[in-house]
């Protein structure tokens, strides 16, 4: 098929891209981490199923919490 040969900047209508394996935290908590200038991936979550909570982020930002041990 000629069309398949001619490969211009083809964008397929992609389906939703994946959920990456990242810190469990809500959009609000992720935004808070950015505002406070901390990397949420470094924080050990204390919420249910290891969710990083708003409080975790604040404590981490104030240096009251150790970063999560590397896996």
């Amino acid at each position: 098929l000629a069309s398949h040969g001619a490969k211009p900047a083809v964008m397929q209508a992609e389906r939703a891209d994946g959920v990456k394996r990242r810190a469990l935290a809500t959009p609000h908590v992720r935004a808070l981490a950015r505002k406070l200038g901390v990397d949420i991936e470094e924080i050990q979550g204390t919420g249910p199923v290891g969710r990083v909570t708003e409080e975790d982020v604040r404590r981490f930002a104030e240096g009251r919490m150790a970063p999560r041990p590397p896996e």
Partner: protein, 470 residues
Amino acid sequence: MVVGDIVEEVEVLVIGAGPGGYVAAIRAAQLGKSVTIVDKAELGGVCLNRGCIPSKALISAAHHYEAAKESPFPGIETTAKFDFAKVQEWKQTVVNKMTSGVQQLLKGNKVNVIQGEAFFTKPNEVRVMQENGSQRLQFQHCILATGSRPIELKNLPLGKRVIDSTGALALDHVPNRLVVVGGGYIGIELGQTFAKFGSQVTIIEGLDSILALFDKQMVRLVEKNLKKYNVQIETNALAQGVEETADGVKLTYKDKDGNEKTIEADYVLVTVGRRPNTDEIGLQDAGIELTEKGLVKVDQQCRTTNPNVFAIGDIVPGPALAHKASYEGKVAAEVIAGKPSIVDYRCIPSVVFSDPEMASVGLTEEEAKKEYGQVAVGRFPYAANGRATALNATDGFIKLVANKENGVLVGAQVVGVEASNIIAELGLAIEMSATLEDIALTIHAHPTLGEMVMEAAEVGLGEPIHIIKG
């Protein structure tokens, strides 16, 4: 109109007024920036003028026609006929309502609107070509949102009877015979709509299934409905060429066994994908680099390789969807206004307004297995839901996919009536890292379709109420 060399200074310049650009312009203005937006065509972009909105207007009109033509409710006898020209007129009023809304929103947010085609002349300057001349604009920051256009295949050149989605949405009558080349979501939405209005539709799909990005079991329900309208589906089929005749068009294609076949139709609708509008805007003059696929390279903040230029929407990687464009538009505007925003979503829902509707968010079961190893899956059928039964719309299911280790929802698929609305809760659930238990313990109103979400979660936890544990 200023012709020639007077350069106007603008604080934030947005190029393209689609759902990426106009949303970016409004957010930037809200955050105190002085904003100018340029578009060469209508406000609202593809989405409002030639995409989401007109297609969904026709789809809902077709749905209404069909529901009255064949009443699904015993005891209620209905008849239906349509006047396609009037349907198209109504569609246009819907489009006009939305685009004039955008115009008012831009005005209300004091965004300066310029009609014209922009291209870069320098890293911080564009020229805008207008009807009666041109204009130079120097910007502090620019947000590029020029969107995409249908791909034209060399062997299926557009013509009077070989049309793209824009042409199909503008037809002034319902073709007797319509061939759709490309069974992606746009092809299916339009093909099924014309089939409902009475076209004899054939779909030519290169892959082994239409809607190949969706779960096979979901697609099966759409295929079942397409059969009802005698839509022919040829998978693993390759369009070879077209020939316009006096009163029609002939398409030749190779079927799945490699046999060459010819099919006659009134129109051939080509919906094989879209390509980004990155080729005619002088990106090289602004130091803006492209990826191998011709998309604009951006970082997490939508910043291009030119630090003062941001790019969003269909011209950057990711699914080519309006809501993704708008989300990125807000991020870019906020970054320019000095906020620490980044593109930081866990998931983007995608919806197909087929009949029945399909919607998906996050990972499929297979993707989740690859990512997490063990997964917990909960599937619940519409047929076991009271509301679906009272609506006489029992075709469909909801499927939830969780990481088995911690029960966190990582994906969901819905096919059935109102899938487009049911998916909203599931997107929020994923963003909130909700677990199946969180969903199962949330009281969902009876009798609503939302109960299926709760019940699917219970199935995933091994404690279903309204279906027998398998």
